[in-house]
Symmetry: C2
Subunit: 431 residues, 2 copies
Amino acid sequence: MQVIVWATLDTLQRNKILQRSISKVGANQELTSSVASIISQVKIQGDSALFKCAQQFDNVNLDSLEVSVKEYQAIASLDQKSKNAIITAAENIHHFHQMSCPKDFEYEKNGINLGKMYRPIEKVGLYIPGGTAPLVSTLLMLAIPAQIAGCQTKILVTPPQVDGKISPAILFAAKHCGIETIYKAGGAQAIAALAFGTQTIPKVYKIFGPGNKYVTEAKLQVSKDALGAAIDMPAGPSEVLVIADDKANPAFIASDLLAQAEHDKEAQVILVTTSKQIVNQVLAEIEVQINYLSRKQIIHEALNHSRIILANSINECFSIANSYAPEHLILHIKEAKSSLAKVVNAGSVFVGQWSPESVGDYASGTNHVLPTHGYARMYSGLDVMAFMKSISFQHLTLDGLKYIGETVESLAELEGLDAHKNAVSLRLKSL
Amino acid sequence: MQVIVWATLDTLQRNKILQRSISKVGANQELTSSVASIISQVKIQGDSALFKCAQQFDNVNLDSLEVSVKEYQAIASLDQKSKNAIITAAENIHHFHQMSCPKDFEYEKNGINLGKMYRPIEKVGLYIPGGTAPLVSTLLMLAIPAQIAGCQTKILVTPPQVDGKISPAILFAAKHCGIETIYKAGGAQAIAALAFGTQTIPKVYKIFGPGNKYVTEAKLQVSKDALGAAIDMPAGPSEVLVIADDKANPAFIASDLLAQAEHDKEAQVILVTTSKQIVNQVLAEIEVQINYLSRKQIIHEALNHSRIILANSINECFSIANSYAPEHLILHIKEAKSSLAKVVNAGSVFVGQWSPESVGDYASGTNHVLPTHGYARMYSGLDVMAFMKSISFQHLTLDGLKYIGETVESLAELEGLDAHKNAVSLRLKSL
C-alpha cells in the first residue's frame, strides 16, 4: 500500500490521490458496443437470446428460464445454521427499513386541501449477481425494501450455477422475502430482459442490484432508453475509507481493510490516520492476517492500488473523507459517535472498534447497496422510498379558489400564459 | 382533437393510443451530436465557450456571465402586485415542501445502535428556462426545496434576455428564495457549465430544472459522464389527462385542456370521459375559448395530436389513466376526493371542479416539476429529498457484536468471503 503524507501535497496532487480512475466505472467503447449488441439481441429474439447467452456466457444449457416448483425442494438441503442466519438478518433489515418508510400526509389551509400519497412502483426487477458463491445478502437487501414498499410484481433474476441450478440459500431467502418467481439469467442479457420484457420475463419499471461491468453498463444503457427502465443508482467498485487515531486497534483496522479488499481486485481501500505508528502496525498486521485468507490473490491486487494517508488532525481526516465521499466510512477514533456530525458525504458509517463493515454488509439491518465512485455526494443508499414514488394532490373548495385565484392570475400574466390565467378567471366568473 | 371509443380497440391499438412518440423525449442522432459538441466546447474552453454560445444562440454580447449587484436594482421596476403574488406563492410552496422534509432517526436494539442522517447535497445547479416570459414559478419550485434542504451552494443559471439583462421578476424571486448568485447562460452550454464547471461557474453535484430538447439531452449526457453531475429526472413535453363524468362542467374542462395545450406544440392533452355529451360540449367550448387566447397557434398544433377517449365506466377511465401515467391528472367527477384511492400512476392530481392545474403550477404549494412521458410509474415530482441524500450509520457495543457476530460469520461463510468473517471473528477472539 502506498503511504502518502498529506501535508506534502499541493491541491492538484490531493485531488488526484482522491480521484477514482474513470475506467473503473465501466464505459469504454468496446464494452459499450458489446453490451449494446446483447441488449438488441434480447429485444429482437427475446427468450431464445437468453438461452443462447446462458450457453455462451454461463456454459449452461437451460430447459427453462423459470425456476420450477420442483427445484424449490433443494431448500431442504440447506443447513439450519444458514437458515437461522438468513432469518435473523432478514428480521433486522426489515426493522431498520420500516423506520424510513415514507408516510402519506395532507392538510387544509384557506380552503386548499393539499397532500402527498406514496405508492409502490408496481413492477420491479431485482438482479442478484452469480459468481463463486450465492449472494444471499444482496437478495435480502433488495427484496425486503421491495416487500415493505408493497411492489406487486417483484421479478428476481440471477445467473444459474454451472449445473443449471440456483443455490438452495438463494431459493430459501427468496421464499422468505415473498419473492414468487425467479428467472435464470445473468449479465447484460438479464438486464435487457427486465427492461424490455421477453416471452417469459415480464418488463419492469425499475431495476435494482449490483453487478459486474457488463451489468452496470447494461443498466446505464436501458436507463437512457425511453422505452427501457429506471435504475437504482450508477455503480463502481466497492470502497472503504477508514479514519484511525493513535489509540486505534491495528489488528481490527487491518481486518476491515482486508475485508474490503477481498471483494474485487478493483476494490478501493483507503486508510487515513494521524499516527505514523498506526501506519506501520496496520501494514504489519495485514502481512500476518492475509496468510489465513482464501482470496489472497484478489486482496493483493486490490491493495496494490490502495493508499494510506497520513494527516495532521482528525478534522483533516474528515475533510479528506468528505471530499472522497466513500461508500463505507469506518471510524476507529475516540468519541466516534459524536464525530458523526462531521460526516457530510458517505454511504454508510461504521462507528467505533466494535462496528466492522461486515456487520452492516450482512445482518445489522442497514442496506449494503450504497453509492460508490463519489456518488455519495448526491445519492443515498437503497431504501424503501427507492421502491416507491410520491403523488401530490390538491382539492380546493370554491373559497379556496377565491383565496388563491388572484395570485395565480398575476403569476400566469407575468409568465404570459393566459390560458393558465383563464382556467382560474373563467371559474371565478362562472359564479 | 381525435375522438376514440375505447371499447372498439384491441389491446395493441389501446397501447398505441397511450404511447408517447419517442421522438418527443429528445435523443435523435443530430441532436445528440450537436449537444455533445457544445458540451465538449464548454469542457475545453470554459467561460469563452459560454460567451460564444450567448452570441450564437441568444444573440447577446455579454460583458459578464454573473449578474452584478448593480443589476439587482432593476427589482425596483417590478410592480407590487407581482411581488405580492411571488411572496404568497413562495409561502405556500415553502409550507407544503416542509411537510415532506425527511427526519433523522436512530434506535438501539441488542447493543446495536442504528440510524440514518439526512444531509443536503452541498452544491446544486438550478436551470431556469428563458423564452418569451420569465419563468418565475419554476425558480420558486427549484429554489425553495433547495433552501429547505439546506444546500450550501445554489447556482442559478438562466438565459439572458435579448438586451443581455435578467428579468426583474427573476431577480426578485431569486433574492426572496436566498439565491446569491445568478449566471447568464442557457441551453446545453449552461448544463455543461454546471456539470463540469468553468472559470466563473462552479461545478455542482446535481442539476435541476426543465428545459427544451437541447437542455434535456445535455442533462442526459452529463448524467452519464462519470465526472459530470446527477440530474433531477428525465423530461419530456408536459402532459395532462382529464377524467370527466356526465355531470362535469364542459367550460372548466375546456379551460384546463387549453391551459395545458398552450405550453408547447408538443404538449400532450387527453380527455377521458364516460359521456358522449361531454365530448361534444367540450369540443364546442374549446372553439369558443381559444379565440380569446394569445397562444392560439401553439394550442392548435398541440390539439392536433391530442385525444378524447370515450370509456364505459369511471373505473375504466382510471385504468386508462394509470396505464398512461400522466404528469397531471385532473378529476372532474363526483366523489373526486375519495377516488384518489384509484390513482396508481400520476405526477400530481387535481381534485374536483375548483382545482384547475394552474393553481398547482403556480401557487397552492405543490411542486410543478413532475415526471412526464410515463415516468410517473417510477419517479416522484420534485421534493426536498431530491436536494438531500441519506447516510446510514451503526454503532455496536461489544455486547452488540457478540449478539450479531455468529449470524454475520455464517452469512460470510455462505458467500465464501472469509475476510468478512475474519473482521468479526478476530474481534471476538481478541477478548
